[in-house]
């Protein structure tokens, strides 16, 4: 009798073990299915990205080829037309170059193969330099720029100087391009908030509706009307800037409403948290 009882409890024990194993298997299968779905989604996104990039590259090539052939086929073409077409070929070549550079930059950053030259930086200096670099763009479009970074010592941060410049130039030139020539006002502020350095670039352009706040950071997404005949962006500037700031350990976001301008802000972690009890956003009057 003891043997039979023993066997019975053994069988029960085995049965419980089997049940447990079966549950574990089910869970593992669920996990694998989810991972597979994610991979398929990533694959589709990669396909979409490649397809979009191909489309974006082919577009400027189309006018370059078409106008070149038109000029070749008609040596007697009127001078004003010839000049116009050649100017377009040159502009489209530049646009294509910018696009190729940005696609490569984005691919390098995302694949982790970009080289980062991280050093200790004085963000105030980098801001001043980026303002200097974009000053002609501001002058040409008669947009006023106010820099509110004077008079205070800001802690250092560690970042790649060239790429930080890239982000600032991206934000500043976006601001110029959305403002109406002659009426535009752009303000760039620097402050400290909760262990981070924060830079704000504010424009008085048409603004962005809350529904589109995240869209502007999507690759190739162009939001809003192109009112003026300004050069079309590539749609990659903001996505690249965001990835750069995130690599530095910060965040890049926008606050805006239609008709109320836009403020693009990013943060950079400070080397050491700012000493002192009161840590509030320090806005320096410009």
């Amino acid at each position: 009798v003891m043997n039979i009882l023993d066997e019975a409890s053994q069988v029960r024990a085995y049965s419980r073990q089997l049940e447990q194993k079966s549950r574990q298997l089910e869970e593992a299968t669920r996990g694998l299915r989810a991972a597979n779905k994610q991979l398929q989604e990533l694959d589709r996104m990669k396909d979409d990205f490649v397809s979009t990039v191909t489309h974006e590259l082919r577009t400027p090539l189309t006018s370059i080829r078409a106008f070149s052939e038109i000029l070749l086929d008609d040596p007697e073409i009127r001078l004003p037309d010839r000049k116009r077409f050649l100017a377009t070929i040159v502009k489209e070549t530049q646009r294509l170059t910018r696009l190729i550079n940005q696609v490569l930059e984005l691919a390098k950053i995302e694949s982790g193969s970009a080289e980062w030259h991280t050093t200790e930086l004085n963000v105030k200096d980098v801001i001043r330099e980026s303002v200097e670099t974009t000053s002609q763009l501001f002058r040409e479009n008669r947009i006023e720029l106010e820099m509110a970074v004077n008079g205070e010592l800001f802690p250092a941060v560690r970042a790649d100087r060239d790429r930080l410049m890239q982000v600032l130039i991206n934000l500043l030139s976006n601001a110029v391009n959305v403002c109406r020539p002659g009426e535009g006002r752009v303000e760039i502020r620097l402050g400290v908030s909760q262990g981070f350095l924060q830079v704000d670039v504010r424009d008085n352009g048409p603004g962005i509706s809350p529904a589109d706040h995240e869209k502007v950071f999507e690759k190739f997404r162009q939001v809003g009307d192109t009112l003026t005949g300004k050069p079309r962006g590539t749609g990659l500037g903001l996505p690249i800037s965001r990835r750069i700031i995130e690599h530095f350990g910060g965040r890049l976001w926008v606050e805006s409403d239609l008709g109320a301008g836009a403020t693009f802000s990013f943060t950079l972690p400070l080397e050491r948290p700012a000493a002192g009890a009161a840590e509030t956003v320090t806005q320096v009057a410009g």
Partner: protein, 124 residues
């Protein structure tokens, strides 16, 4: 009477090159810069041939083509899809939507002109 070509594309430079090309060949040219406007222009003014891009604001080229084919007024209209989308699936979809021809960008101006002329001679 000169044949009329409707160009539907939202890229100003491509529109400029197509417009110049078609005018050079003696055609009358009309332009629409988004899908909705393209559909309206095609059904409204009955062009002989439409050069139709796919990636358009408001309504994409596939849909414009399908609607034109569904409409008895435009069923006989010649439709040439002219697009930077070049995958097999896109070509198949274009032809299924009822396009007479599917041309990928960048295109050869000579070939395009020859094909447009041939399509137009078919409709008499």
């Amino acid at each position: 009477m000169a044949k009329r070509i409707l160009i539907v594309d939202d890229e100003p430079n491509i529109v400029a090159s197509l417009e110049y090309l078609m005018k050079r060949e003696g055609f009358e040219v009309q332009v629409a810069v988004d899908g909705e406007a393209g559909l309206k222009a095609a059904t409204g003014s009955a062009p002989d041939l439409v050069l139709l891009d796919i990636m358009l604001p408001k309504m994409n080229g596939f849909e414009v083509c399908e609607r034109l084919r569904a409409d008895p007024r435009s069923r006989g209209m010649k439709i040439v899809m002219l697009t930077a989308k070049g995958r097999q699936a896109d070509t198949a979809r274009g032809m299924a939507a009822g396009a007479d021809l599917y041309v990928t960008k960048p295109f050869s101006t000579r070939e395009l002109v020859a094909q447009v002329k041939q399509l137009l001679s078919q409709s008499g």
